[in-house]
Amino acid sequence: MTAVEVRDLRRAYGSVRAVDGLSFTAPTAKVTAVLGRNGAGKTTTVEICAGLRPRDGGEVAVLGQDPWHNAALKPSIGVMPQAAGSGAAGVYPAARVGEVLRLFASFAAHPLDVDALLDRLDLARLAGTAWRRLSGGEQQRLSLALAVVGRPALVFLDEPTAGLDVAARHATWSLIEDLRTAGVSVVLTTHAMDEAEKLADHVVVVAAGRVVAAGSPAELTRDDGGTVRFTAVPGLPVAELAGRLAASVRETKPGQYVVTGAAAQAALTAVTAWCAERGVLPEHLSTGRRTLEDVFVELTA
């Protein structure tokens, strides 16, 4: 059984179609990363799946059930809403870390050990601190703890590592990996490519409310000819080089170029010759596999 199955999902806010015919599946006991730019429709999709928001159309099966107004499903899913920007992570500002975690634990029949969970996320020393006195990263970690304390079978994490420092980010990643090992299905949103590449078994790339690619990171980054990357002055006429190589050439950021779809040796020769013709020096010239970031930029540019 798949943990989440979404078909032709639609949701509009006024005249803005936030989600516009989106379909994907999230496998059981795996980590699925929904990857997209801001405004791509990730949060709306996850909130609909988590039962936080109604949909306009399409079909959603979460653990085989419709999530909207489904009391029977609630104990089986954990939700970490997005906190960045909205300020609406869903915690009483005056409630203390320990008491709010104990509150959410008390809603569950077989909750996790609260003290062990606080320890695990390095929150034990903050147990008596009010939510509003926590830093952004501490709030994120508590919000993650609230999502998992009821021992759900499926968790939705909306940008779980946004605003975290390196150590907290790794603690979060390690907990997500342990959840997967324990058999929990995880659906997370991110715009951090390294996070998707490191954590996800399955990546769903979303742009403008639709899925533009889906697969494992290995499937998505597979390519035949390898990739050549170089840095030079911005604004070179890449179409000309692309025509000469019969390959794809993109300026991913000003002055940063990526050639894909050509044999590496031929691409290297062509790039150096083409740059020499224009009196431009290609720097940081390198070859290698595509990264998820390359794929993402190609798909969502």
């Binding site: 089986s76 992570a89 809603f107 996790l112 695990r120």
Partner: protein
């Protein structure tokens, strides 16, 4: 450190435990909030003590017979309406209502927990105000049962009004609006100041306010000589409160937005 067993084991706790734990959280938050305590405890108590002793208004003697039922009505209004509206408005803004509604507590459990916390605060308020009332010479008379029924009906009406406000307006607008309504109703409802300065036609209009109906009803229920439960309470007080309770509940169900 205890090892964490993250293996899925979904299941909701019994509904009574969920609601009781949520109510206890809400109650702790109310008692920890200085502004809430000012509104629900300090203002009614200070008003009672000051008005009993200070010749600020033309109140029939003994003044405590007029004032104690009045501040009890104010206590209900402050907790069920003003305090609840402000807290709920900000909880809506911060996504607390949405997150708890999506948790195994659920929306019904959330409302039940809030109601239980409001009733618990009212018990504390009544105990304190009755004690202060007795200290300044008031003696309870009449029907406790009728007074309790009025308090419950008033709580339903004011809670629904508070939730209606919190669920439709921005949090800041609720904060300002709920305080303004509290102040206006305190002045015009015959809670601590008699309505005798208003013209008869204005007065009959003001009697239709839920706060006026609650204060009048409590005054009649707790008046000397009203031994038969509820008999002394004017039918108008019951009807006015019941109409407010039904209408405000229907409006809150219709227009309340959780996020």
């Amino acid at each position: 450190m205890t090892a964490l067993d993250l293996t899925p084991a979904p299941g909701a706790a019994p509904v009574g435990r969920r609601i009781a734990r949520h109510a206890s959280m809400e109650l702790r938050l109310l008692l920890r909030n200085g502004e809430q305590l000012l509104l629900t405890i300090v203002i009614p108590t200070v008003l009672l003590v000051v008005m009993v002793h200070a010749p600020l208004a033309d109140i029939p003697r003994p003044r405590s017979n007029f004032l104690v039922p009045g501040v009890l009505a104010l206590a209900v209004m402050s907790t069920a309406f003003t305090g609840q509206a402000i807290a709920t408005g900000f909880e809506r803004r911060y996504g607390v209502l949405r997150r708890l509604g999506a948790s195994p507590l659920g929306r019904i459990g959330l409302l039940a927990g809030k109601t239980a916390a409001v009733l618990a605060v009212e018990v504390l308020q009544v105990a304190l105000l009755v004690a202060v009332g007795v200290a300044v010479g008031w003696r309870p008379h009449g029907s406790v049962l009728a007074a309790l029924a009025l308090v419950v009906l008033g709580t339903v009406a004011f809670s629904a009004l508070g939730l209606l406000m919190a669920g439709t307006l921005r949090a800041e607008a609720t904060l300002a609006g709920a305080n303004l309504v509290y102040l206006l109703l305190l002045v015009v409802s015959g809670i601590a100041f008699p309505q005798s300065d208003f013209s008869p036609s204005v007065r009959s209009g003001l009697r239709l306010l839920p706060s006026a109906a609650l204060a009048d009803g409590l005054r009649a229920a707790l008046a000397p000589g009203a031994a038969i439960p509820g008999a002394a309470v004017p039918g108008r007080a019951w009807v006015v409160l019941a109409v407010w309770a039904v209408a405000a509940t229907a409006a809150a169900v219709r227009w309340f937005r959780w996020a």
